[in-house]
C-alpha cells in the first residue's frame, strides 16, 4: 500500500505545499481505502442474501415447487396482515421483547451496581457472573431442561418436597408458564452482557460525584437514582437497543426449548418465519415475515441513532 512510507525528510515550503495537496487528494480516496475492505466483505456476504430475501418476499415461492416462482406483489404481506394469528404472534413478540428488556435491564442494573462496589474477591465474582453469557445456547437448553424436568428435576423436586407446590407444573409445556420461564432462562444467559455494558457506564462516572452526593446526605438508593442512573444514560440506551433487537431476533432461545409450542404459546416472529419456511415450505411468506422483522429492527436502530448518536454528534 502506497501510504506505508517511511519518514519523510524535512522539506522546503514548496514541497510541503505539494505534499499537502497530495494529502488532500488522498483524503478523498482515503475513506474508500479504509472502509472499502470491510464494506466489500459485508456487501458480498450479507448484501446479496438480504436483497435476495427481500425480493423473495414479493414472490409466490414454495420449496415444494422449485423453479416455479411467480411474482406476487404484496400478496404475502396482505395475507399476513389479514391473518389474526400473525397479529397474535406480533403481539407476543413485542411482549417477549418488552419482558426481556425489563428483566434483563433490571437484573443487569442490580448486577452492575453490585460489581461496581468493592466486593471481596471482585475479580472472581465478576468472572463467575459473566459465565452464562459465554455458554452456547445449545448447552443452556440442556442445562435448563434438566433443571426443569417435571419428574427428576431439582426445581420440581424441591417444590414437592417442601410442600410449597404439591403438583408443580410441567414448566416447558404449560401454556400459563412457558413464556415467562423462557424469558427468565434467556435472561439468565443474556443479562451478564447487559450488566457488563452498564458496569462500563458506571465506571465512567467520576467517584467524586458519589462522594459529593454522600456528603449531601444522600442514601444509597438516592445516589443510585440521582447519580448512577443519569450517568449511565448512554449505556442504558445501548442495552435497550441490543436487548430489544436480540429478543426480537432470538430464535435458538425458543426453538431449542419449545419450537414455539405448546399451542403456539411461545411462537414469535422468528420461529413463525422458520416454521413457514421449513415446515410449510412457503418461502415467499417466510421472507415477508423476515422483512417485517427487519423493518422493526431498523426502526429500533434508527431511533437509537437519532437519540444517542445524534446527540453525540452535536457535542462534537
Amino acid at each position: 500500500m502506497a501510504t506505508i512510507t517511511t519518514e519523510r525528510p524535512r522539506t522546503t515550503p514548496e514541497q510541503a505545499a505539494h505534499a499537502r495537496k497530495q494529502r488532500v487528494r488522498r483524503q478523498r480516496l482515503a475513506p474508500i481505502l479504509y472502509i472499502g475492505p470491510a464494506f466489500l466483505a459485508i456487501a458480498l456476504i450479507i448484501g446479496y442474501p438480504v436483497f435476495n430475501a427481500i425480493g423473495t418476499s414479493f414472490l409466490n415461492a414454495s420449496l415444494l415447487a422449485p423453479g416455479q416462482d411467480t411474482f406476487a406483489g404484496l400478496d404475502n404481506f396482505t395475507a399476513l396482515f389479514g391473518d389474526p394469528t400473525f397479529w397474535l404472534v406480533m403481539g407476543r413478540t413485542l411482549t417477549w421483547a418488552g419482558a426481556a428488556l425489563i428483566v434483563q435491564v433490571g437484573l443487569g442494573l442490580v448486577i452492575a451496581n453490585t460489581l461496581n462496589k468493592r466486593l471481596f474477591a471482585r475479580g472472581a465474582v465478576r468472572t463467575t457472573l459473566i459465565v452464562p453469557w459465554v455458554v452456547p445456547t445449545v448447552l443452556v437448553a440442556l442445562i435448563w431442561r434438566f433443571l426443569l424436568d417435571p419428574v427428576s428435576g431439582p426445581i420440581n423436586g424441591l417444590l414437592r418436597d417442601t410442600g410449597l407446590w404439591e403438583n408443580p407444573p410441567v414448566w416447558l409445556a404449560d401454556t400459563r408458564f412457558v413464556l415467562p420461564v423462557l424469558v427468565l432462562i434467556s435472561a439468565w444467559k443474556w443479562t451478564p452482557f447487559t450488566a457488563v455494558i452498564l458496569l462500563a457506564g458506571m465506571q465512567q462516572i467520576p467517584p467524586e460525584q458519589h462522594e459529593a452526593a454522600m456528603m449531601d446526605g444522600a442514601n444509597a438508593w438516592q445516589r443510585f437514582r440521582n447519580v448512577t442512573v443519569p450517568g449511565i444514560r448512554t449505556s442504558l440506551a445501548l442495552v435497550t437497543l441490543t436487548t430489544i433487537s436480540g429478543a426480537i431476533n432470538n430464535f435458538n432461545g425458543i426453538w431449542l426449548f419449545t419450537r414455539g409450542g405448546p399451542v403456539g404459546a411461545t411462537e414469535i416472529l422468528t420461529t413463525m418465519a422458520y416454521r413457514t419456511a421449513f415446515i410449510e415450505f412457503d418461502f415467499g411468506r417466510a421472507a415477508a415475515i423476515s422483512v417485517i422483522i427487519f423493518v422493526m429492527m431498523m426502526a429500533v436502530a434508527v431511533v437509537y441513532f437519532y437519540v444517542v448518536e445524534g446527540r453525540k454528534g452535536d457535542k462534537r
Binding site: 420449496l63 415447487a65 417435571p150 467517584p207 419449545t258 409450542g261 405448546p262 410449510e280
Partner: protein, 431 residues
Amino acid sequence: MSTPSPRLSRRQLLALGGGVASGLTLAACGTGSGGGGSDPTGGGASGSGTLELWANAGVAGDSDSGLQRAVRAWGEANGVTVNVQGIPTQDLVPKLTTTSSGGSGPDVAIVDVSSVPQLAAAQVLADVTDKADAVTGDFGDELLASSSYDGGLFGLPYTTNNVGLFYNRELLDGAGIAVPTTWQELRDAAIELTGGDQYGYMMGAQGYGAFLFWPWLWQNGGTILSEDLTTATFADDLGQEAFAFYSGLVLEDKVMPPEFVGANASWDQYVAPFVQGRCAMMATGPWGTAPIEEGNPDLDWAVAPLPAGTGSASILGGTTISVGHNSTQSDLAWELVSWLTATEQMPYIQDTGNIPGRRDVIDSEWTAEDPVRQTFVEQMEVARARPALPIWGDIEWGVMANMWDAVIQGQQAPADALAAAAEETNQKLSS
C-alpha cells in the same frame, strides 16, 4: 475502579498474531482432511470416488453402527469413500431442503417415510422408478407406497416399523389384568392400574399425540383424507368417535402421568414413565425397546398388538433410502442404495434391532426368534401409511399437533378442536 487502560505490549501482540497464523494453518489443514469434502463444487459428490450419505443421527449411529460398517464394506470393495453424516431428525429435513434448493445436497439420503412426499416434491430426492424396476418385487406394496409420491418411486424401503402396545407384565399380572385386546379393555385396565404415583397409560404431546391418534381413527373405520387427498375426513362421525375415546383417556379417565403434556420433543420423554416402571402401558414402536433394555434391564415387559376397535390397525413408519436429486453421481449412488437393500446386507440392519423392509427377511425365521419383533411383523399386515402429501409434515406436526395440545391443555373441547383442525386442513389442501 477507573479503567486501568490495559495496553498490550508488542510481545503480546506478536504472540497473538502468531497464534492466529497457526490457527489459519490449522484451519487450512482442517479443510483438506475429511476426504472429498474439499470438493469445490461443495456438498455433493466430486466424481472422484466419494459419496455423501446423510441420515438422521439415530440411523447413522457411531462408527461401528450397522450402517457405517455396511457402507465401509461397500466402499472398500468398490474403491469409493462414503462419508456418512448423522444429522438430528429435526434438522434433517430443513438441512436437506436448504442444500437442495442451493443446488447441492447428499448423493444418498435415508429419510423418514413420512417426509418422502415433501422431499420428493421439493426435488431433494431423485425419482428412481426406472432404476428400481428390477427390485420392487422384493418389497411389500404398502412399504413401496410409503416411498412413493405422485406415481413415482423416490427410494427403497430401508427399515419399517409400526406401533404396538407395550405393557409392564409385573404391573398387569399383579393386578390380575389380562393384556387388553379391545378399546374397552384398554380403558378399564388403564383406570384400574392408575393410583398413587402409578399410571395406566401413556400419551404424547404435540406431534407425538397427533401421530399416535391415527391408529385409533383407522381402527374405528375412519380415514384421514378422502381418497383423492383433497378433503379431510378425520373429523366425520367415525373420526369424532375415535377422538372422543382417545382424548377421553386424558380428559375423563386421567390415566396418564402428569408430565405427559411435556412429552413433545423426543421419544425419550414419552418412554420415560414406562421405563421408570411408573406407567403400565404405552403405544410405541420398536424404537421403544432400546431405552427400556438400556435404561431398566430389570423391567418385565412385553409387546402386544394394539387393542382393536371395530377393526385392527397400526401406523406404518420407517425409513426410505434414496438418491439425492442433485447428486452428480446418481448411478454410483444408486449402486450403493441397491446394494444396501439387497438380501446379503440385511444382517447390518438386523443387528440394530430394526426390521428391514425386504419381504424375504420379514418372512424369514429371524422374525420369530424374538417375540417383540414377531408382534411388530404380524402387525405389518394391518399397518397403514399416512397420506402421501407434500404438506403432510405441516398437517401432522402443525395443525394436528396444535389441536392436540389445545385439547390436553384444556383450551378447547375435543369435538370442536377436531372439527376446526379438519377445516384448517381443508384450507391447506386447497391452497
